[in-house]
Symmetry: C2
């Protein structure tokens, strides 16, 4: 089946793409260049697409900085050195207003144009419990919007949203990715835009990634500015 | 209350803005410049915003032409001279994949940033029965997505979506607009991008508008290339 993968260049979306490929689907990538402070992600998404032999890779510019409201799209500082306990139970400042709703909407539009019946995204509720738009109930509600508000839905074809990593721990995601030969060295996770070429090692995203590789008993091939704690 | 108005420069969204203003809300405008073939709409939205004294008017560029799939964003011909019967019961080629889902997602993001609790849009199910994303059940499903997938929803503040013209006929919309002194001369409805300064008078949107003014017993102040039939 034809499938759209929301490919960010990060670890989770790259493992998600590998799962979609393993399942035998005909993949197209959609990358939203949303004025990330760390726009290196978009470059990495392109390298991942080449690695996967993707013919249709649409990079769509959308300047979410103009909307603001997040540490990832404005000049607010990215939080660092937060323990796992600190990261739980709140919506982090790196929450981008309605991001997954916006990204899924664009993916649905692309799926309709490409006549694809699946959309894959790398949402994960374990490590990102503070992001409301990574929860399963949100994804189900979004499918209902697609069923009622698109040509595909009305014509009964529908578009299924798949988030195969939704309930995986980071270690499980990394083990799965390793079994599927995911090019981890190409994936970018760091939230800090001031780092060039290396990851800071201290933001939430770097900490979750490092703890994940450690728990999986695997070596992270990317370079970090600071040694792990 | 603070409210976001999805302002397209068209007749319906301008009457919707007038309703929101009448209801005493503090308005911000959001206009999506989505690679419309008729980008005069975006200019007109700016003129309408000035007329309404709007301080915050965000014009967000999003190139939906890159996604394609619609006569409004590609080089497909815009249908002309269709009667009311011809216009019913099908999804027209001017359907833009997932447009209202995308626009509402962006409006919700802007509402979160502006701390607004209302989003107004000019969706209408009477004249646009063929567009699935103009139906009330779609709007209710989208509110559920907002409740589950945004910071505002999780924190219990919520964002209400209002489409005050949803079940109005075009004549009723025009009469309401006239009673609220809507600057109809600034509003643009024509789907045909090849017209400059005047409306074609023959596309679905022009025909619906002209029939509406006629039924309302009012004179449309804009210029048409061809006399009405």
């Amino acid at each position: 089946m034809k499938a759209i993968v929301l490919a960010s260049g990060g670890l989770d979306s790259t493992v998600t793409a590998a799962v979609a490929k393993r399942d035998g689907h005909d993949l197209s990538f959609l990358t939203i260049s949303y004025g990330q402070r760390h726009c290196i992600e978009v470059e990495r998404a392109g390298e991942v697409a080449r690695m996967f032999g993707i013919v249709n890779h649409l990079v769509l510019a959308l300047d979410l900085r103009a909307i603001g409201g997040s540490a990832l799209t404005s000049n607010h500082p990215v939080p660092k050195d937060r323990s796992e306990a600190d990261r739980q139970g709140e919506i982090p400042s790196t929450y981008v207003p309605a991001r997954n709703t916006i990204f899924l909407s664009l993916a649905i539009a692309y799926a309709e144009t490409m006549d694809a019946s699946l959309v894959y995204l790398g949402a994960n509720v374990v490590d990102y419990s503070g992001y409301p738009d990574c929860r399963p109930e949100f994804l189900r509600a979004f499918e209902e919007v697609v069923r009622l508000g698109t040509r595909s839905g009305v014509e009964g074809k529908g578009i299924e949203i798949r988030a195969p990593l939704l309930s995986f721990s980071k270690a499980e995601i990394i083990r799965l990715g390793a079994s599927l030969n995911v090019p981890f060295h190409l994936t970018h996770s760091c939230y800090d835009p001031s780092m060039s070429g290396v990851a800071c090692g201290r933001c939430d995203s770097c900490r979750i990634r490092r703890e994940g590789f450690q728990a999986a008993g695997l070596t992270d091939p990317i370079a970090y500015a600071e040694a792990g704690t």
